[in-house]
Each structure stands twice: as C-alpha cells, then as structure tokens.
C-alpha cells in the first residue's frame, strides 16, 4: 500500500521460553495516529523496539519508512523519532540545552525554541531535567523525540503515571503533532487514551493482534449493539438491539412510561475487556 509508513507482517520474537510476539501484523498509514493497546506483557514494547532497530526479530517482515530497521542507517534514524519508556537520564542539563543539543544531530531540525513552546515548557527552559515533574519530564522526552522533525514518531506508553490533568495536556500535544502531519504510533494500556487520540486502535494480546479498527467501531457491530433494560412483570428485562430508538418507542407505546428504562452502549472498555478476556491463561503475564 503506497501510504504505508510502517508495515509489519508475521512478526515473531521469543525470549527464552516466552513467545513475546507471536505472528503480529501491523500497518500504519501516512498521517495516521495508531494506538497499540494491550495489557502488560502483551508484546507492545518488544514490537516498538523491533521497529526502532533496538532488537532483532526472530521471524517476519518489518518495513519502517521503507527500510528494514535492522539495517537502518543514520539517515533513516534522522527520519524517525523515538520516545522510550521511563527515563531519568540527562539530569544535569537544562531543557533548553537538551533540545538545542539534540537538534544538532539532525539535518532538518525544528527550531528548538518552537519545540520548547510546542511541548509547553517555555517557563522551564532554563530548568535542569532533574528538577522537572514527571509530566514535564515526559514532555521533554517528546521534545527530544520531535526536534528532528521526524516523519514517524514512536511513543511507548507516554503517559504512564500521569495525573488526569497532565494526561489531558499531553493529549493536546500529541494532537498538535497530527496537525503538523506527523505519523504517530503509540502504545498504551489506557483505554481513554487510545479512544481520545487514535484514528485506529490495534488491540494486542499475547503477542498477536486480536482486533483493530476506529475506536468507535472496535470489536465489530455485534460488540457495539445497544442494551435496553426495563422492568416488567416483577423482573428486569434486557434486549440487545441495533435500533434502540425504535425499540424504546415500541416499549413506550405498549407500557406508557417505561419503568426502570435504561439504554446503554458498551464502552470501549467493555469491548476491550471482552476481547482480552476471550483468551484465558494469565499465568505468563508480567
């Protein structure tokens, strides 16, 4: 597919006797924000690390910007941005120094001041990394990931440990990357994050994709049927339907004011839990 920025086919990776990634397929189109969602130990980070050239795969085909990451050279690296999990490095340098320093590694760096503004750290530009809060620290990580103006950016669990307000602010930041035309692949185990940010959600469990689609369509039509509940004849009745409005109108015609009426659509969380629970065996998860 001509628009594919990232293409993974049949990826496999084993650590000892644990099959971390087990035949995973993934593609990301130009300009898309794709969220890889899954429980801990599902193989999300391993997949990202293979796509960014940190690990070698056992089997499968991987193309990132048309290049096999195992053979990625400097010019390939200059076209991707990588924000890895939890960092506490670079403590003694200030925000401004770090962004300017990293900008020099790239042939097409953004203006460091604009990047500092974009991640909302203008007031912290002279502050050393060690003195930043968790949320500010993560924004700095993103600043260092985007300063080279990458075509594709990888964000591995970018908001783990954030308070809700910091998470909202971070989502706005990622949204602004989309507006700049950057393609984003992010992993997360927060459903609201995937729902809020992603054009497409890929649910991964036990090293393989169990479902994917737009957040509103995940799990297919059946999973998204509305559930209508009401009281009748001394008990609670329940009906799953694609046409809840018509159904409730019928009920109203029959019963007048319907006692205990409730119409509910499954949340992404309901769908997700149903997908992940469908495969038992939680022993291996770490």
């Amino acid at each position: 597919m001509p628009g594919a920025v990232l293409e993974v086919i049949g990826l496999r990776k084993r650590y000892g006797d644990k099959q971390a990634v087990d035949g995973l397929d993934l593609h990301v189109d130009l300009g898309e924000i794709v969220a890889v969602l899954g429980p801990n130990g599902a193989g999300k980070t391993t997949t990202v690390e293979i796509c960014t050239g940190f690990r070698h795969r056992d089997d499968g085909d991987v193309r990132v910007l048309g290049v096999d990451p195992q053979r990625g050279d400097r010019s390939w690296r200059s076209r991707i941005g990588v924000v890895l999990q939890t960092n506490n490095d670079l403590a003694e340098a200030s925000v401004g120094e770090l962004v300017r320093h990293f900008a020099r590694f790239y042939p097409h760096a953004r203006d460091p001041d604009e990047v500092v503004d974009a991640v909302g750290l203008r007031e912290k530009v002279g502050v050393r990394a060690r003195q930043l809060s968790g949320g500010q620290r993560r924004r700095l990580d993103v600043a260092l990931g985007i300063v080279g103006s990458p075509e594709l950016i990888f964000l591995d669990e970018p908001t783990t440990g954030f308070d809700p307000q910091a998470r909202r602010a971070f989502w706005d930041l990622i949204g602004s990357l989309r507006d700049d035309g950057t393609t984003v692949l992010l992993t997360t185990h927060y459903l609201e994050e995937a729902e809020h940010l992603a054009d497409r959600v890929v649910v991964v469990d036990r090293g393989t994709v169990v479902a994917q689609g737009a957040p509103q369509e995940l799990g297919g039509r059946g999973a998204r049927q509305a559930v209508v509940r009401w009281s009748e004849g001394g008990g609670v009745r329940e009906e799953r339907t694609d046409t809840p409005t018509a159904f409730v109108a019928q009920l109203g015609a029959r019963l007048g004011e319907v006692p205990g009426l409730e119409v509910r659509r499954p949340t992404l969380e309901d769908v997700y839990l149903a997908l992940v629970d469908a495969t038992p065996d939680d022993e291996e998860r770490s």
């Binding site: 200059s78 990588v82 960092n87 490095d89 340098a93 590694f105 042939p107 097409h108 075509e151």
Partner: protein, 280 residues
C-alpha cells in the same frame, strides 16, 4: 516524494558532532558535585593534605645530598592519580550510569554516530584532565613552592606519559563500565579498585619502601608505571636511584601502558552495550 529534501541535506559530520558532544559532556561534568570533588579536585586536595602532614618542619626525602621536599615528592603520584581518575574512574562510572538511566539507549535512537559519542567522551576526558593537571601544578608551584622542570625533554616525557596514560585510562574505563550492574552500584564497584591501586602504586607512600610482593602486584597495573614516568619528569635526576630498578624504565612505562591500551580497547569493543543487561 516527501523525502526528496532529506536526500539533499547532508547529515552533520561525525567530528563536528564529536565536538558538540565534548562541549555538552564538559558542561554537565562540572555540574556533577560528586565528579568535581572526587575526580577533579581530589588530587589537589590529597597533595595539599600529604604535603602539609608529611612536610611538617621541612621534612623531606633525601637522596645523598639532595633533599626532595615532600610536596615535590608526592606531586608526580598525584598527577598520575589525576589522570587515572579523570579517565578511568570518570568514564567507568559515568558510562555505567548513562547505560543504567537510559541515556545511551536514547542516543542510540538518534542519528548521532557512535563515534561522535566516544569522541565526546575522549574530548571531555582530555580537556578536564588537562585543566586538572594544570591546576595541580599551579597549586604545587605557588602554594608549596615545588620547582617545575625547565627543560623541554622533561616536558616531552610529561606529554607522552600524560596522553598515553589518558588514552589507556579511557579505554579501560569504557571496558570497566560494563561491570557495575546498576548506576547506583557504579561508584562502589569502581572506587575501591582505584583506591587500592593508589595505595600499592606508590601514590601515597614511597614506592621503594612498599613490600616487594606489593610492588610486584602494582607492576602489573598501569598506575605504577604512570607514576614512575611522572617521577622522571618532576623529581631531580638523583631520585632515579630510589627507583626499584635503579632507573626510570621509560621503555617499560610505554610498553605496559600500550599493552593495557590495546587490551582495554579489544575488551571494550567486544563488551560495549547501549542497553542495560536486564534489558535484553
């Protein structure tokens, strides 16, 4: 093609980035309080303490008619120690910490060439140890009245022992940085090695007065030879007869340092990792 412009603009050069890294490394090095006290200022502090304590009442090391004040006698050992701290201890600890904290992995994900990273480390070591040695010599000259050599031949010896010692200490430091299991453990794993070497290599004592077996153990490691080379620079000719072999043995100094340089390089290239050991 969206990539057309990418092809036309070249990537920044390896050496230019090496210099950029050198400046960055130097700036952050001098902000690290531990490094400044225990690596940069340490030889100066130790020289001051030893010269003051042992040099009370004008005590000296005497060779026949020649009196060598304690401050002068200890200076070469402190210069050698400074070189070892700035190269070996500095890199062994800082790289172990960078690996543990994810700094190396972060750099690996950028288009920074690995060679530029190492150029930056070497540049930082060279400039900081040059500054350290200058400071040490200035303190020795001004505060303790130690005469510094006036002839070019001695300074030439100083130059090659300094450069070779720094290079050897650096590659050994890079190789040794893989041993600590965490950044937190790095100081505890590196510092005792450095301390023991200082004690057995004649930095704090007169080397010829150490037990013979200790001298033989010390002779296996570079610090003893570096200190000996520095003694040939800063002590009067008469002190040569105090040496165990009755000579400065500059050929052996060069040979031992070179063996460690090559050995450390081979080991370092084979064992260097950008990621923590528990990170696959």
């Amino acid at each position: 093609m969206a990539t057309a412009t990418q092809v036309t603009t070249p990537l920044p050069g390896t050496l230019r980035l090496g210099w950029e890294r050198t400046r960055f490394e130097l700036r952050t090095y001098f902000r690290e309080r531990d490094a400044v006290v225990f690596i940069f200022a340490y030889p100066v502090i130790m020289l001051a303490i030893f010269a003051t304590v042992f040099g009370q009442d004008g005590a000296s090391v005497d060779v026949g008619d020649v009196r060598i004040p304690f401050a002068q006698y200890f200076l070469p050992g402190m210069v050698a120690t400074g070189v070892m701290l700035s190269s070996f201890q500095n890199l062994a600890i800082s790289i172990a910490v960078e690996r543990d904290e994810g700094a190396l992995k972060r750099l690996r994900a950028t288009p920074l060439p690995p060679a530029s990273y190492f150029v930056g480390k070497v540049g930082q070591v060279l400039l900081s140890s040059l500054l350290q040695t200058t400071l040490l010599l200035a303190v020795a000259r001004v505060v303790f009245d130690v005469p510094l050599p006036a002839d070019a031949a001695r300074w030439a010896t100083f130059a090659w022992v300094f450069v070779l010692g720094t290079a050897t200490g650096s590659v050994c430091g890079v190789a040794y940085s893989s041993i600590p299991r965490s950044g937190r453990a790095a100081s505890a794993v590196v510092t005792p090695v450095v301390l023991v070497l200082q004690f057995i290599s004649g930095v704090f004592f007169q080397f010829d007065q150490l037990p013979a077996w200790m001298q033989q153990v010390a002779a296996l490691f570079p610090l003893k030879w570096m200190a000996q080379g520095m003694r040939s620079v800063f002590l009067p000719d008469a002190a040569e007869q105090l040496e165990v072999g009755g000579s400065w043995q500059l050929g052996m100094v060069a040979a031992v340092l070179l063996v460690w340089l090559v050995g450390g390089l081979v080991l370092g290239v084979r064992t260097f990792r950008w990621r923590r050991r528990d990170d696959g």
